[in-house]
Symmetry: C2
Subunit: 231 residues, 2 copies
């Protein structure tokens, strides 16, 4: 990994065109050849970058560029597309290289899969008498997160999201349409369960007769008996 701090400008062409005016920035060249261009703010996203696989060619600036104060030019070309990032470096403030080795990677916990597991175990949160049929109930267009039965024996298809957006309603709608063709299951009721449901998603869901349920992750985790296995 090479770290360079320099005054620079940059130009990207590929899926869009973008330009970065002259300013001092951090340039990171990773071992796989990818390049990140970071400012001193924003968030984790670089101002500009090139993803691997790509290769970088360093060249001497032409006369015109030298006159503008350019000391070197980096041309980073993506290996499989026309994506191209050109960086003109002016003063270089810092330049160092470091050997990092391969990273063991991140271990995660607490994403949608956990919500699904916990709701499956606490299916009565949807109402007294609800019973689990199975998680990841398979259909022709993909698995339904949870299939259950309510106290009257009616089938309930549940779509789970961390953030309930409008596309989740579409997803559930497609499942419901398919499931309702199965005479063993029909009629199937839909439940959209999420930690947070956007107003527009709620409107669309309600319009289609889908019930919205808010999930309280902390409360569910508190009564989750498999909690202990996490870490």
């Amino acid at each position: 990994m090479r770290l360079v701090v320099a005054r620079c400008s940059a130009h990207y062409t590929g899926r869009l065109s973008a330009h970065l005016p002259l300013a001092t920035r951090l340039l990171v060249v990773k071992a796989d050849g990818s390049v990140l261009l970071h400012s001193d703010g924003g968030s984790y996203k670089p101002l500009n970058w090139m993803s691997p696989p790509c290769s970088m060619a360093v060249s001497v600036p032409d006369e015109d560029a030298v006159a503008r104060g350019v000391t070197q030019v980096w041309a980073v070309q993506h290996a499989k597309s026309d994506d191209r990032l050109e960086i003109e470096l002016h003063e270089v403030v810092h330049d160092s290289s470091h050997s990092l080795g391969i990273d063991p990677g991140l271990i995660k916990d607490g994403v949608e899969a956990h919500l699904q597991a916990m709701l499956a175990e606490q299916i009565e949160l949807l109402g007294t008498g609800h019973t689990l049929v199975r998680r990841e109930y398979p259909t022709a267009i993909g698995p339904v997160d949870i299939l259950a039965r309510d106290s009257t024996g009616g089938t309930v298809a549940i779509e789970i999201k961390r953030r309930g957006d409008i596309d989740g309603v579409e997803q559930l709608t497609r499942y419901l349409e398919l499931l309702n063709r199965d005479p063993h299951l029909a009629p199937v009721r839909g439940v959209y369960a999420a930690q947070e449901i956007k107003p527009q998603a709620r409107v669309l869901a309600t319009d289609r007769g889908i019930t919205c349920v808010l999930l309280d992750y902390a409360a569910m985790k508190g009564t989750d008996d498999v909690d202990s296995r996490l870490f």
Copy 2:
């Protein structure tokens, strides 16, 4: 901006829990207090990070940690939530600080907004006699990109994408269903306009009576009289 290369492990708790085993990584501390933890690969996304606003407290490791080889502990706490990132540093390979100043930021060109603006100005690309009603025509489930009238006075709802995928067809279908309930507008015809339309999207659109239109960005830009303001 502070750059540190060090052998470290990390623990994140917040919207999820995550752990990073001991390895050598780049740690970037930005001027706004945010912290990035990068490996020598992956992509532009850090292995772990803390977004601003947040604050970092450096402390001396306890006896137990010292025994594990920890030389310092960074506790990064988000200012507005419970998000917390703890980093245990072992050997520090590199440590430098740099003043970068405020970045002028990225200037983009060629995104969906440009396509929309240009098509609104060149609405006759859809056929002679087409007139613009308005851009971002509001509905209960979100704004339609462009609403127009054709030469016969019929209403046309236009969905614009850079890359025409299947979800854009779904989106337009929802709008059409809603708009067709409005007696002042009905019947409303749908047009799916994109620089590139995926075969599956084209099939679905055609099946639903939606017209597909390919947008030639370069050609549209050539006749765009506000072109001069870009860059």
